[in-house]
Every structure is written in structure tokens, then in C-alpha cells.
């Protein structure tokens, strides 16, 4: 039995190696040079056209902004699905499957264990570190056109800060950022703002996702900063909401 499982495992490893070899060998053996047209175009004209020094954020918020819209919708669906699973199967997830009587005692045991593990060290460190992480997240989010980062990265860092605040904050209501209702509203409003910002080009005759701020006389890069801020808020609120729901505080 055991040798059979080991043999199956080794066979899977062998299969993975064969697949990787089949995919990678044509890449290395080909004589056709890598295409350089898009790269050279971005290098020569990208910064002048978009105004962003960070070319990555110029691409995913300017040249390929439809991809970003799709990713945002994917994240929205993922968060909705997670919340749906937690809302309908949360008790099962929290207590484990199988024998209900034994798991009930196990659940109680674990709950007291978790309460015992909430030491002063955890509360002080995460409570003090949370605001600093939040500020860094907003920096990464708002300066995504100049330095490495952007909406998604800053949003995830903001979500980490929200989790820190939720772990470290005592229940005296010093911040409302860790409340599930506030986060859910924040995410919905940011997604509405994203749709409105993308549709605003249509009103001014530019087309979907046209740069309306540039047409109004603002710098070209303003639209990228706006989209970065909206996406960062949406990602931060969404992932923070998901983590807080998994912490069991979604009531």
C-alpha cells in the first residue's frame, strides 16, 4: 500500500518533469528571435504618451486597462463566492466534519485555546503596526505611477493592515475599518466608482475607458492615479472583508 502510494507520487513527479520539458524545449531551441516591436515602442513613446514613469502601471491602466477591469471582476466574484460559502457553511467549516458530538467539544477547546493565545504581545504589536502598514499601503497605491507598486499591490498591503487592526484592536470601537459592513460598502462604492470612471469617457465622446482627465486639461497621468486609488480601495476592502469574515467577525 505504502510503496504503491510512493510509486504513484514518483510517477506524478515524472509526469510533471516531462510536461515542463515539452513546454520549455521549443522555447530554447527556436531560431526565431524574440519580438521586440512592442518593447521598443514602449521604451521610446510610452512615457510621453502616458506620463507614468513606472511603465508597468502605464500598461495595465492605460494600454491594457480592459485586462484590469476583468481582473477586478474576477476578484469581485471570488470574494462573493467566499462570503457565500462562509455564510452557508461557516458552522461546518469552523467545527470540522464528521462526528458532531466530538467536534463540538473540539470546537469549544479550540475557541478557548484561541482566546488564551491572544496575548498582550500580539495585541500591542499588531495594533501599533496596523496604522503604519496602512500608510505604506496607501503610499504604494497612490505613487504607483512613479515607483514600483500600484492599485493591486497597495490594496493587498492595505488589506494586511486591516487584518492587523482586526487582530490587535480591542473591542472599544477605536476604528470602524475592521467592521465587515463598512468594508462591504467600501468595496461596492469603489466598484461603482470604477464603472463610472470607465464610462465617463463615453459621455465626453472618447469611448470606454478614455482619458477624461486629460481632455479636461489635467495631466495625462491623473487618470492612472485615479484608477490606482479606486482599484486599491476596492482590492483592500475586498480582501480585508474576506479575511475578517474568515476570522469569524462577519456578524
Amino acid at each position: 500500500m505504502r510503496s504503491k502510494i510512493t510509486g504513484l507520487f514518483l510517477f506524478q513527479v515524472f509526469l510533471c518533469l516531462v510536461t515542463i520539458t515539452l513546454v520549455l524545449i521549443p522555447l530554447f531551441w527556436t531560431d526565431i528571435p524574440w519580438p521586440t516591436i512592442a518593447r521598443d515602442h514602449m521604451e521610446n513613446f510610452g512615457m510621453a504618451a502616458s506620463g507614468a514613469r513606472n511603465m508597468v502601471s502605464a500598461i495595465y491602466l492605460g494600454y491594457r486597462v480592459f485586462d484590469t477591469l476583468g481582473e477586478t471582476i474576477v476578484l469581485l466574484v471570488a470574494v462573493s463566492g467566499t462570503i457565500g460559502i462562509i455564510a452557508h457553511g461557516g458552522d461546518v467549516l469552523a467545527k470540522g466534519f464528521g462526528d458532531p458530538s466530538r467536534n463540538e467539544s473540539l470546537y469549544q477547546e479550540k475557541t478557548t485555546l484561541v482566546k488564551k493565545q491572544r496575548t498582550a504581545l500580539l495585541e500591542v504589536v499588531t495594533g501599533k503596526l496596523g496604522p503604519v502598514v496602512l500608510v505604506f499601503g496607501f503610499y504604494v497605491m497612490l505613487f504607483g505611477h512613479l515607483s514600483p507598486g500600484g492599485g493591486f499591490q497597495g490594496g493587498v498591503v492595505v488589506a494586511s493592515g486591516i487584518v492587523f487592526l482586526a487582530l490587535g484592536g480591542r473591542a472599544d470601537g477605536s476604528t470602524r475599518l475592521t467592521e465587515a459592513g463598512v468594508l462591504a460598502k467600501l468595496e461596492s462604492i469603489s466598484f461603482l466608482l470604477l464603472i463610472l470612471a470607465s464610462l465617463s469617457g463615453v459621455v465626453f465622446g472618447g469611448g470606454f475607458f478614455a482619458n477624461t482627465l486629460a481632455q479636461a486639461g489635467m495631466p495625462e497621468v491623473g487618470f492612472i492615479v485615479l484608477l490606482n486609488a479606486i482599484i486599491g480601495l476596492k482590492v483592500g476592502a475586498g480582501i480585508g472583508f474576506m479575511c475578517i469574515a474568515m476570522l469569524g467577525r462577519a456578524e
Partner: protein, 91 residues
């Protein structure tokens, strides 16, 4: 430097696959994410490095640990009294 990181990545990945304790596997996954972030930074992709560090080492580790907390230890090789003793011990 890059080669050292890549070898460490392979070793940690193999450890994640073969370890019998899920919690050890999750911590090894977190270390893999951190090493990948350093690797991305060395290869001049700081955007990807920030994403990898924040998502891989931060958020996904929290989610994995919270999912493991909802499970209990079970292994066919463990004797029953040992299994009852270690129930919910480390998670």
C-alpha cells in the same frame, strides 16, 4: 545568488510536498513566497516582488492557517491514544 535562491526554492517546495504536518507546509510555502519576492527583486521586477510578498507571504498564509485551524489531526499511523493526546495541539 539567483542559483542559490532557485535551489532553496526547490528544496522548500519538496519539503512542502512531503511534510506530514500541514502547518509546517504552510510556513514553508510562506518562505517560498518570500524567496520568490527576493528573486523577483534581483531580476528587476519590483512590482511583481511587492505583489508576491504581500499576497504570498502575507494574506494567503493567514487564510491557510485559518483553514488549518478548522481541521483536526488525523493519521492512520498514529496510535489512538497518541491521536487523542495531540488533538488540536499545535494549530
Amino acid at each position: 545568488m539567483v542559483i542559490v535562491f532557485l535551489v532553496l526554492l526547490i528544496i522548500l517546495s519538496a519539503y512542502t510536498l512531503v511534510t506530514r504536518d500541514l502547518l509546517y507546509g504552510v510556513i514553508a510555502l510562506s518562505a517560498i513566497s518570500l524567496l520568490s519576492a527576493l528573486l523577483f527583486y534581483l531580476l528587476h521586477a519590483p512590482d511583481v516582488a511587492i505583489t508576491e510578498a504581500a499576497v504570498g507571504a502575507g494574506v494567503s498564509t493567514v487564510i491557510f492557517v485559518w483553514a488549518i485551524r478548522a481541521t483536526e489531526r488525523f493519521s492512520p499511523q498514529d496510535r489512538p491514544e497518541k491521536r487523542n493526546g495531540s488533538k488540536g495541539g499545535k494549530q
